[in-house]
Symmetry: D2
Subunit: 303 residues, 4 copies
Amino acid sequence: MVDYKALGAELSNWGRWGSDDQVGTLNLVRPEHIVAAAAQVRSGKVFQLSIPVGKDGPQMGLGGRVNPVHLMSMAPTDFEPHGMQVADDWIIMPLQSGTQWDALAHVGYDDKLYNGYDAREVGSRTGAQQLAVDAYSDRIVGRGVLLDIARLRGVPWLEPGTAITPADLEEAERAQGVTVAEGDFLLVRTGWRVRLLEQGRDGWMSSEPGLGIDCARWLHTRGVAAVGSDNWAIEVIPSETGDMLPLHCVLIRDMGMPLAEILDLEALAADCAADGVWSFLFVAPPLNISNAVGSPVTPIAVK
Amino acid sequence: MVDYKALGAELSNWGRWGSDDQVGTLNLVRPEHIVAAAAQVRSGKVFQLSIPVGKDGPQMGLGGRVNPVHLMSMAPTDFEPHGMQVADDWIIMPLQSGTQWDALAHVGYDDKLYNGYDAREVGSRTGAQQLAVDAYSDRIVGRGVLLDIARLRGVPWLEPGTAITPADLEEAERAQGVTVAEGDFLLVRTGWRVRLLEQGRDGWMSSEPGLGIDCARWLHTRGVAAVGSDNWAIEVIPSETGDMLPLHCVLIRDMGMPLAEILDLEALAADCAADGVWSFLFVAPPLNISNAVGSPVTPIAVK
Amino acid sequence: MVDYKALGAELSNWGRWGSDDQVGTLNLVRPEHIVAAAAQVRSGKVFQLSIPVGKDGPQMGLGGRVNPVHLMSMAPTDFEPHGMQVADDWIIMPLQSGTQWDALAHVGYDDKLYNGYDAREVGSRTGAQQLAVDAYSDRIVGRGVLLDIARLRGVPWLEPGTAITPADLEEAERAQGVTVAEGDFLLVRTGWRVRLLEQGRDGWMSSEPGLGIDCARWLHTRGVAAVGSDNWAIEVIPSETGDMLPLHCVLIRDMGMPLAEILDLEALAADCAADGVWSFLFVAPPLNISNAVGSPVTPIAVK
Amino acid sequence: MVDYKALGAELSNWGRWGSDDQVGTLNLVRPEHIVAAAAQVRSGKVFQLSIPVGKDGPQMGLGGRVNPVHLMSMAPTDFEPHGMQVADDWIIMPLQSGTQWDALAHVGYDDKLYNGYDAREVGSRTGAQQLAVDAYSDRIVGRGVLLDIARLRGVPWLEPGTAITPADLEEAERAQGVTVAEGDFLLVRTGWRVRLLEQGRDGWMSSEPGLGIDCARWLHTRGVAAVGSDNWAIEVIPSETGDMLPLHCVLIRDMGMPLAEILDLEALAADCAADGVWSFLFVAPPLNISNAVGSPVTPIAVK
């Protein structure tokens, strides 16, 4: 049985980019990666990878998260029609209720966050004083690579509890003719979005297919900048170790890797399967929210 | 004195892209524009154009808008330290309180919205049933061009009430060596962001420098896809016509052009002035919020 | 089959208390009723009639209502311990998500509200400009009378779909030895609170036992000031007429009677059954929210 | 100079009502007090003591508190007019932004709350697990006594920084012909509400007249159940001791006394001055919010 804390210690990036680093593995994205990613844009096709933000989202109220509430504060009919008629609106939402980034301040253990920051840097009054999501509002641009494990297995979605292994990732690389390289944004398709669309949110969060704990070392070795998936927690649930979200702990707290969750990879995956090109320009900045530990996002892939 | 309704009728794009069109002038962005914009990425420099989202924003409560409220729902210290410690948070915000897109459902007059939709398509119960912001969550990718009028005039910011004219825009084009073309995203710098940083929010919204009403025809002729600025309403306040936000009415309701407001163009403008390159890849999708009339955004420029 | 609009016309109180009246049947409470209600306080026992306000409330998201969200903005541990340590918090809630008052602006038909006010007096931008809940923040004091129909029938709760009739109310009066008089606040116990506690919220709102449409005339004749119940809508669901909430329409829009919903009458009913005294001092002001169409409330009964 | 911690130790009620007590000095209200308070109702006049809840409240954003935000989720015009037309609405508010109760969990020091509870009983994830405001949702009924210090001094309001002393309170008792007794709810009028109405919120919270630190012993000796005032913090600001809100610390954390703040005592005080009767039935339950550290309230006085 893997001890996630031992694994975290092995893969730790604390101090690697300075004692005051705020962005972890996003440091691996270098300007030449961005130039190369832009250079491979061929068709001008754009894919947005967010599920709809609103009351029909996947949240059941677990963990205190609910679906976003959208309310109008003005409607055109509130105004005399001959002059300007204005509509205005509000959103009230848990920042991690839909397609979203986990900031590095989102998860810790042993009273420490990534890079050794004290867990008390995050409090009710101040939010995250370190490792907040706005630290990387200009850092999520580069090459994206999609590995489609559900397609590899020929199923609409992997069964809940299926742990994706490094061997699976490498098999997908071979099958798709693509190799994950340093500074890449890796997107892993499990088909769990299809499960949500076809069977609804009941049970969608109680378990899921996802990355197994051994993928941490693989992501570390490859130098992945950040990882995203179409499930809600990146990793397999229940976990292989019996712990709660051990891959979160290692990736976020030890390696300093942000996670993108609840992506809609369907249209992008279909296009990649059709043209055989599984990499693209990826632009997915979080909102520039001060002191936040997560953010909704509209990730964009351009081919 | 310009009659904005007459001008709107002259420049109307209703029906131009079909009776059910939802995205207006964004139709002008073609795949080849996106390919060309990506191809001009040279240095891999990334600029994010959003002001911070949080309690220190520019809102004074005018028009019912307040600054975003960020609250924690979990903090690491809420958890037993030996296992995973989680932080989670919420945002409560008017969708147009900071750096943001106006959706086409945001403004109308004479009980009509863009493309002839009835103003009653937007209501308290449903939000915007037509022309909502999610319609273009995959449409804001292309070439951005920055015209820096404050720099042209050699001032930190234009005086409030200064109407920028088509002649000003063309003078900036010549001075900067760039030409606004069909399908471009045009960003206009007035310096009003500097005014906010240096003098605070008092008075920041009561008046401002910005585009004059004559720019509508120029934007139409050039085929601009969308326009953004560093002030809060794109256009000069008080308006030249005595109406409330007449350029909003013509651009949004008649031409179907989304507006990006409260941008932070400072770092991008400095870089453009330094290297003499005033165009870039621009990626700025709104959040994928169902039925919304606006959205916060982190616009990205890549050079 | 009763035509609720005809019944509403028959029982209409429009104009009865002036063309600008805002409080409807609450006008029936006179100072001498308040003095008499206070005079019957014998034991000093206090009962509060609200269910808990929070995430475990009865809402399923139907009608856009969710359960209240309670978030901390400061916790004592955010502060240096030797000085004052402060906790502060927020609530985000639909005003009618738990124990609550319906304001007279809550329901109308044929584009009219109580007293003939135009339905357009309620809009996104302004809220309720007439008949808002704060109009009666000092009017809900008087004699309360509890009629316990579930106890009368010897059941923990009435079956969903059971319509309570005027004959039922009068049978309860006789059995309990109490008579509903002009200016009284009438509370009707169906046992539906017990159903919620024992079986949870699934299905709790899809149907319910409650007042039948014929009770409107009885409430009018008796001069009841306001009526409350332990179900979520006062009235039987599905309705006897095939309409949606016809009793709401008649009571609120035609008679001008506020409704108190989702009360917890359990402890009060047990005490009344024990001592045979079914009336009490009733104090239940709404929050003084400007332009609101409902309000949470902690109703108090003193015996 | 008074040492507030020493004073707190002297006046401590920890353990007085059991090691698990949740309601502190509210234990001093006995049923006979409630019966007597009801018995003195003579005229049936009702006064509600809350300021309006909404965007025009006194909050400037200090301490993270803003004024309540009220939004509609349905308006009658959203519905086909021939059937029922419904209005529904939401509130988003800091629980202590207007007329409100401080719960006993609101303030502590030295990592302890009232009755010795650990400050960690209040956290982001759970709210207040002890001493929450709902613990006394059925406990705020009894005799209220108003002492009008502004009227005693013949001024519209006391100057900010004026510390009210025990001698002032006793002089008001003599002048008004009333004596504060065990179990009473004491309301103190400083006129600060008039200041808010006449001069607006600018500066309203930066200082204020209010109870001085010596009043703690007087309140303890008299056996007051709870104290309220028309200013925002009960106590004089700046404090006499140089500490932040020392009276809060002693009253809430050591004595276990809830505080009612931002009351509107104007109409009540005028009536009491007119008829010479300065006591009344007082009913002011908080909302029954689980785990909350404060609550809005509509306090009711009945004479």
